[in-house]
């Protein structure tokens, strides 16, 4: 809910970012694993959590979106992980990006020729429409919300199984698809790059049909699926590389080994025995870092910047956070250096002073509450508190998730605020109910620590507004944790959203970030980066903390492992 995963977010970003980010750290990410990937072999992915759903209408998080990229295709998609701008949106099944009408309410796409599902059936406009309309099914369409928020549909439309064809999507011929929007949405190409905008054969996928099996349109298809332990993908013989400009699909097969403990994964990557030379995984644990110090391991290590911001939202409806001075004082007093160390140290985290992370388009570098070495400025904070007569301190309740890394961050916050006589009481909430609790204004406490990521990294439009738009405050699933409802802020959001020039809009989002931080509805804490340790035989690997482009990875030597 709150820690929204990105879908069409970026892969590894520019080298420049990384060089500023770490000193004496791992090798830069542009080179990938060095040698070039060649076709063949099996790439192994080691992971702890199972994918949420094989059905793209249901799943919506960074991990599963990366997986969907191997088996599903949409009209548009996020550019390759090694592209010049990996955040960009490029055509996939469509010949080109969409053409908007004058009023911005109608978007038209034309399909390529020779597209097929893994069963050999052709993919035409009808299949695209059908697949997309599944997002409206009340039981199935629990994934990305963007289609439902942008494409016009009657209130009672409940997906193809219950309500038939989607009235807001037209298919004048086999190759053409026309979308009618609720209101102009300049970033509509991003919406169609969401995982739930993929084609399926008309009539398929009702009930639990796609829970254990899929109908693939991408370069791979499901071979075996054992929930909680193994997913094996093999080539989809009906996928035609000529129709796909982005996916390279080097390996013949993929094996996702699921249910492994994080420590086990790191041990296996460190040892690199057997098939583990062909293995990749998510980011390594902080405790693994001291063990990655040999030249051979350092050589394999790849860094990726953060696409999410870890922040502490301060509930502006509750005293004393209703006073801007208090919120600013907290921002001054926080020892972001100790929070950084608690989050894994300099190689795994950067202190955050802005809402928009460095790697997301629209980021503007500023620090309104500076302190030496990010260690906090209690004196300045106390001055501010004295202005409102709170120099003797106060106490507040901080909601945190029952998860070690977040608890460590919360304890660092707690410790830093002692310096300004502020007592923080930690309210530890079970992981499974955490977002539900803090997203319910009647249940949330004075403050909460959580993370936020943009739904697509090519623009900050999904990064800042959900956190500060006063009109979005809802009884349940609220994302505006500060419950900030400021007329000027709301007006600014509408103003920037209306800008059709996306580059200009991004500049404005950066400015907006700074305007919001002047009000300090939250205290950005850290940007949690990632370090990745691929097997020695992996090539073309551009890992990302948001979504790693699996479709361009391959093996240097398929005979190994």
């Amino acid at each position: 809910m709150i820690k929204k995963a990105t879908s069409a977010a970026a892969a590894a970003a520019a080298t420049a970012l990384l060089l500023t980010a770490c000193t004496g750290g791992p090798s830069d990410s542009t080179g990938g694993a060095g040698d070039d990937p060649v076709a063949g072999g099996t790439v192994h992915m080691l992971q702890n959590a199972d994918f949420s759903y094989l059905d793209p209408a249901r799943g919506f998080d960074g991990g599963v979106n990366a997986f969907y990229r191997l088996i599903y295709r949409g009209l548009t998609m996020q550019a390759a992980g090694d592209a010049e701008d990996p955040n960009a949106i490029v055509p996939d099944l469509a010949e080109s990006l969409g053409t908007a009408s004058e009023d911005g309410l109608t978007w038209t796409y034309t399909l390529k020729d020779g597209l097929k599902f893994d069963n050999g059936d052709p993919i035409t406009a009808a299949e695209v429409e059908f697949g997309i309309s599944r997002a409206w099914d009340p039981e199935i369409g629990i994934g990305s919300p963007w289609l439902k928020q942008t494409v016009d549909a009657p209130e009672d439309y409940a997906g193809p199984y219950q309500s038939g064809d989607h009235p807001g999507i037209e298919t004048p011929d086999e190759h053409t698809i026309v979308f009618h929007l609720i209101e102009p949405f300049p970033e509509f190409d991003n919406v169609l790059a969401q995982p739930n905008a993929v084609p399926f054969p008309v009539g398929s996928g009702a009930g639990d049909e796609f829970i254990n099996d899929v109908i693939a349109s991408g370069p791979y298809t499901l071979d075996t699926y054992t929930p909680g332990s193994l997913i094996k993908l093999v080539r989809n013989e009906h996928w035609d590389a000529d129709t796909d400009d982005v996916r390279k699909a080097y390996p013949d097969a993929w094996e996702f080994e699921i249910g492994l403990e994080a420590a086990t994964i790191d041990e296996r990557l460190l040892a690199g025995q057997g098939t583990d030379v062909n293995a990749i995984a998510g980011k390594i644990q902080a405790a693994t870092l001291p063990r990655v110090q040999t030249p051979e391991l350092q050589d394999r290590l790849i860094a990726s910047p953060a696409f999410c911001t870890t922040y502490m939202g301060m509930n502006t409806t509750k005293a004393p956070f209703d006073q801007v001075e208090v919120r600013q004082a907290v921002n001054y007093a926080l020892d972001r250096a100790s929070i950084q160390t608690a989050s894994g140290g300099t190689q795994l985290a950067d202190p955050a002073t802005t809402i928009i992370p460095t790697a997301v388009s629209g980021h503007k570098d500023f620090d309104l509450y500076p302190s030496e070495d990010y260690a906090g400025d209690p004196a300045k904070a106390l001055e501010l508190l004295a202005e409102v007569g709170l120099e003797d301190g106060f106490s507040f309740v901080l909601d945190i998730r029952a998860q070690p890394s977040m608890q460590a961050q919360a304890e660092a916050v707690q410790e830093a605020l002692k310096a300004i006589n502020v007592e923080v009481e930690l309210n530890v909430i079970d992981t499974s109910t955490y977002y539900e609790t803090i997203g319910t204004p009647s249940q949330q406490s004075d403050a909460a620590i959580t993370g936020w990521c943009p739904d697509w990294a090519s623009s900050a439009s999904t990064m800042v507004p959900p956190l500060v738009d006063g009109r979005l405050i809802t009884e349940k699933g609220n994302t505006n944790l500060a419950q900030l409802d400021d007329a000027a802020v709301n007006a600014r959001i509408d103003e920037i959203k209306a800008i059709a020039d996306l580059a200009e809009a991004n500049v404005q989002w950066g400015e907006f970030d700074e305007e919001v931080m002047a009000l300090a509805p939250m205290a950005p804490l850290v940007l949690e980066k990632g370090l990745f340790l691929p097997g020695a035989n992996i090539a073309g690997y551009h890992p990302s903390t948001s979504m790693t482009d699996l479709a361009i990875i391959g093996l240097k030597d398929p005979s190994q492992g």
Partner: protein, 324 residues
């Protein structure tokens, strides 16, 4: 209907990973003789000393921490290396004159101070759970055994049910679903809830046999009320059994509390607890073994001390000190 038609009784610990032993027979032995025998037993003495030490740590925690110089919550960023994921600087997890037992990775908090404060949690919870369990066990066991009939049937069924229940799974599920405030009380409550049948079963059995003995019959004949018989005749005869069973149960509760904290449903951070310290040391065991060895050793020694002590007391009660 009982589940085990033997003298064997299931005792103490929780969730299938239990410690079992023979039921102690009842004959009481004279106090002075026991004490003398006990003092001759070096292992028992050493264990008592360790337990007293931990108790002392728990009671005088703030004072001890003043001596050692670091509080349990104080961060020491100078003791860890931010470029190395917050690994403690120096050998053996940063042990030295400044931090006697080293520091926690990441935060640099003093492990000695956290061990001292952690003793509070372990001791409070284990001892409270023991008291509560004993009270429940004795009350239900006595009631069932003395009154028999329908009362006995109901209590016995409840005991069977509780003992068949996968307690560990359930404790974790309940604790993680309930709000985290007042965790200490919840921990004690949940541990006792599943713990009392083990004592109650034995108390029930012994009450049933005591009830038939002449002195009880005599008291009954002389017109004593049920209350008088229970408190004056039966309870004193159960004393040694209760003491032995209780001592044998303590290590189980220490272990259960640490286990629940290890699984993340124990006391709320930043309050330190040994189990939780061990849990947070798991990812670090390869690079900072001191971080898990210290709380691990403290916990192991405490459980061992209680086990040995319980064992010795049981043996003394059995033999009246003859063989100790």
């Amino acid at each position: 209907m009982t589940f085990t038609p033997t003298e064997l009784e299931v005792e103490g610990a929780q969730g299938g990973e239990a410690a079992r032993d023979n039921a102690p027979p009842s004959p009481p032995a004279s106090g002075r003789r026991l004490a003398r025998a006990f003092l001759k037993d070096r292992a028992a003495l050493a264990c008592s000393v360790y337990i007293l030490l931990v108790l002392l740590m728990a009671l005088a925690a703030p004072l001890i921490v003043k001596l050692s110089g670091w509080g349990p919550y104080e961060f020491d960023q100078s003791a860890v290396d931010p470029d190395m994921a917050g690994l403690p600087l120096g050998a053996a997890g940063g042990m030295g004159a400044e931090h006697w037992f080293g520091v926690e990775p990441g935060s640099g908090r003093d492990i000695f101070a956290r061990i001292v404060y952690g003793a509070r949690v372990s001791m409070t919870i284990a001892l409270s759970a023991t008291v509560l369990t004993s009270v429940l066990g004795v009350v239900f066991g006595l009631t069932a055994g003395y009154f028999g009939g329908k009362v006995d049937m109901v209590v016995s069924r409840v005991m069977e049910f509780l003992m068949a229940f996968p307690a560990l799974i359930f404790m974790i599920a309940v604790l993680s679903a309930l709000p985290a405030e007042n965790r200490q009380f919840l921990l004690v409550g949940v541990i006792s809830f599943f713990g009392w049948p083990y004592l109650a079963r034995i108390v029930r059995g012994q009450t049933m046999s005591l009830k038939e003995r002449e002195f009880v019959e005599a008291a009954k004949a002389s017109g004593a009320s049920s209350g008088q018989i229970i408190f004056k005749e039966i309870l004193p005869n159960l004393a040694s059994t209760i003491i032995v069973m209780t001592t044998l149960a303590v290590p189980g509760y220490v272990g259960t509390e640490a286990g629940l904290s290890f699984l993340g449903v124990g006391v709320v951070p930043p309050t330190p607890s040994w189990g939780q310290m061990i849990a947070s040391s798991v990812p670090w065991y390869a690079v900072d073994p001191a971080y898990f060895l210290i709380p691990g050793a403290c916990l192991f020694l405490l459980v061992l001390s209680f086990t040995v002590l319980g064992d010795r007391i049981r043996r003394l009660a059995e033999t009246g000190g003859a063989r100790a």
